[in-house]
Amino acid sequence: MTSIIVHNLQKVFQTKRKAAGLSGSMRSLFKPEYSTVEAVRKISFQMETGELLGFIGPNGAGKSTTIKMLTGILHPSGGEASVLGFVPWKDRQKLAFQIGTVFGQRPQLWYHLPAMDTFTLFGKIYELDDSETKKRIDFLAEAFEIRDLLDVPVRKLSLGQRMRCEVAASLLHRPKLLLLDEPSIGLDVVAKQHIRDAIRRMNQEEGVGVLLTSHDAGDLEALCKRVIIVNHGQIVYEDKVSNLKRKFLTTKLVEVRYAKQVAKDFSVKGAKILKVGRYGVKLQFDSAQTPVDSVITRLSEMGDIMDITISDPPLEEVIAKIYEQVREGKQELT
């Protein structure tokens, strides 16, 4: 089953241009100049029901514009889209019953009131029975660990606590699809982990599909199975997150701890030594150039290994690498 089908979706904005200073303002008043910004350039993709799909890209890539078209807030300049069988901009209200949205930078909870008031209001807005709303709030309060926060005015909550309440509120009406636009923006590591755990749980228990836009590669690694990377309004990469890691995560980081002191002239052919300590060594190599087993063999020849860790570089670096390749014109990435 497919929940989102997007075909050649396009959004073009007309932006007013104005030169600096008073003369620029006067000129703009009598002879306004507009420039055309193509925020989304004929993108096409599909999302399966219950899928966890990452939609990532740098600022101004067109992620949020795409999400806003998929929720029906923005009318596209061209192309087609179907979300849960609805054309979003034609059936916005009907679609709204089936989807949940969180825009990380735009709170939906009433700021001066306890979150419970917004939850109750949403129960009415989504036309749930009072008893059903109550049961659902109980469930979400437990799933998101927000029971003690519901009666506190939202303005007094920390950002992490507020975001947990925001995401929980967007799930009140049991949506089939959750559109999360930067849900972890500004959160600390613990708060991010809380949100990710809760989202994963809702996906597993209720089969909610999640389309996630984020700047944070950690969100992608922790939550998504598949990723679409956009840049300048175009899809530049679309694949499984595991493939993304395999293709672009060839650089390996190794940390070794020996039983005895390490020789000062420690070296491994094909690897770059980053740090040599008294008992430990940190090095980096490209597995595409140097086979992993040759590095491990060489490391064990150097002494008795007490501990060894081999890790991938952070996904941010991978994405930066992809952007770099796209910028250089190597678009044969997918």
């Binding site: 904005f13 992620k63 949020s64 514009t65 999400i67 806003k68 929720t71 029906g72 807030i73 923005l74 009318h75 916005r92 209200q93 009907k94 709204a96 019953f97 989807i99 949205t101 825009f103 930078q105 735009r106 939906q108 009433w110 001066h112 009131l113 008031d117 917004t118 109750t120 209001l121 949403f122 009415k124 807005i125 989504y126 036309e127 005015p153 636009d181 930067e182």
Partner: protein
Amino acid sequence: MKKFSKYWSIFEITLLNSLAYPGELVGRSLMIIPFMWIFYQLWKVAFSAAGVDAINGLTLQDTLWYLMMTETIELGRPPIARTMSENVKDGSVAYILNKPYDFLWYQFSSAMGETIFRAIMNAIFGGLTVWLLVGAPAHPQGFLVAIPAVLGAWVLHFCINAMIGLSAFVVEDVAAFTWIYQKLAFIFGGMLIPLDFYPQWMQTLAKAMPFSSALYGPARLFVSPTMDLFIGVMSLQMFWIITLVFVLVVAYRRGLTQLTVNGG
């Protein structure tokens, strides 16, 4: 029923939200006291200079109660156009538009939630001040008769302001339009001077405009609660409400296709 109850809930939560800082709300409503005192001084001098007890049927007492009503309507109504414009500018309109309700009904319910308590506070402080200055209203039953017209006035205000607010979908900043509207309402709505004191040609012109149905009509009905006036005020108000709601809905549908949501 569920459809209606969602708008009632929006009204309720906005009302609750407006009560989050009661001190600020009461403090702001106290502004009507100096306004009424200034009006009293001004019109007392005007009536005594003219050497008459009534001008075109309105006594000093009527004039003050009339102005109390126009001020209550005007000071009670929330800045809908500015709020809508800010929603568009900061992108929060995205949240308002992505829920299963009608955007205009949402805005209206929310505006009424903000209006009610503010208007009640203004009526209490304004009424007490005028009572102390010129005595009780000549026709206390006018208060009840005027209630439907006051509600209609807020609907009209909403329609006009929502139209100005909707222009934010295209131009984003609507401060200039709200300024013009406010001044037109001051002059042609009879907010500071009852329209009865205008020259005949100007009265005819002003009474034909929607601004008079939003201020002059209900306030005049309050001081002269006759059946003829009630029918006249309510009919004209209904005409303007139907016309402006139609224009508003058309403008909204058109505006939606022009919307640019900021942020992200």
